[in-house]
Every structure is written in C-alpha cells, then in structure tokens.
Symmetry: C2
Subunit: 106 residues, 2 copies
Amino acid sequence: MLDVTRLRVLDAVARLGSVTAAAKELHYTQPTASHHLARLEAETGARLLQRAGRRVRLTPAGQLLAGRAAEIIGRIDAAGNELAAHVGLTTGLVRLVLQRQLVCVW
Amino acid sequence: MLDVTRLRVLDAVARLGSVTAAAKELHYTQPTASHHLARLEAETGARLLQRAGRRVRLTPAGQLLAGRAAEIIGRIDAAGNELAAHVGLTTGLVRLVLQRQLVCVW
DNA sequence: TAGAATTACGCTCTACGTAACTATC
DNA sequence: GATAGTTACGTAGAGCGTAATTCTA
C-alpha cells in the first residue's frame, strides 16, 4: 500500500520543481524529503525521479503517480473538512488541534 | 491530516461490523485496532463509534467518514496497481515486496 | 564556490503486541 | 463463563533532524 506521507512529498516536488522547495512547503528538512522519495521508489520499484543537472525531474512514472497523489491528497483533505463541518454543525464545539494532538475544546 | 492507517481500520469496522473482525482482516490484534479507532476519534474530535451491548456501531459521523475512507483507500490501491502495471510494461521486472520492504528484483 | 541532492548516523516517538481489566450475553 | 472491547505497558522500527559528502552551474 502506498504511503501517503511520501505521496505528499512527490506531489510537492511535481508542483514546485525541486526537493528543497517541497521540503520547505511541508516543513521538512531537505534530507528528510529526499529520504521519503528514495523510500517511495524502493517500495514501488519504480524510478520516479531523475537528476537533471543539480535539479530533479519526474520520470513518466513519477508524473503518473504525482497526478494520482494530488487526487488522493485532495480526497483526504476534503474528507477531513467534511467531517469537521459535520461535527461543528452537530455539536457547536471549537477544537484547537496542533500536530494531530488535541489541545483544547470549548 | 487524516491518517490512512486509521481510516483502513474504520472502513473494516464499517464493513465487518466489529473491531475484532476488522483487526483480523488487517492482521492486527484487537487492542491495536481499538487503539487506532480511539486515536482517530481524538484526532478528529468526532465520536465515530458507540458501544451497543458488546458490539460497536458507527455514529452518523462514523458512517460519513467510513464512506469517504472506502473511496480514499480505493484510490490509493488503484494508483498502486496503475503504477505497478506501468512499471511492469516498461521494464519487465518482477518485484517481491514483503511488508513494504523490497526483497528481490529480477 | 554556492546551491541542490544524497548518504550516514543518532534520537524521539509511534505502532504494535502481550497482559490485565471491564462489561455484556 | 465466553465473547467483545478497552486500558496499561514495553519494545522494535520509522520519521525526522544534524552533519558530512557529492555533484553541477
């Protein structure tokens, strides 16, 4: 099963054009983003990136997967928003959530 | 961001009707599945399950999220299959992957 | 030589299992 | 008492960062 954390990195690289920019957007360091990409290639058995000078470019397989990744991430975000709206409407609570950790409800 | 691992547990509970059956299908122990569900409720701030005797039933919020979870999981699986087909067609490799760990390529 | 990526290594935190507990039929 | 679920606790592994290395414009 594809790991969504790694798909997020691939999606960011596809949109922003570099590992560094992707890492920055996701609040990772560059090595962490690079590591996720390397693991994604190992886990899928597909070459997803190729060096182009000191930049990287997506292979056809990488572009294919990045497109699907964007759809999947969109679905996940939409589901989260939908649930939040549902909960908000039915309970009227306000939740403060930091790093997946519930901090406050009132 | 919703955790897909936990969504898989919720989806299995929705389809199979119990935490025990869901755990078995996903090759987890029952406490592990139960823990994922508890964390999912804490992270989303929504009641997703309610005890019904010694079974559990999904709340409306739980049913909503379970439906979206099934869609998301389907998308992820489809993307993985699509990529595998693409790689298979272009390289002719056979990959043996166990627990996300690449074991052999030839 | 400055910028971009990878590799090496260590630490923290999460995922998971086992064991113990609670509750319902 | 058997079955279903939860809570407590310990451990192995993954995620992330820092540091060091490689490569290219």
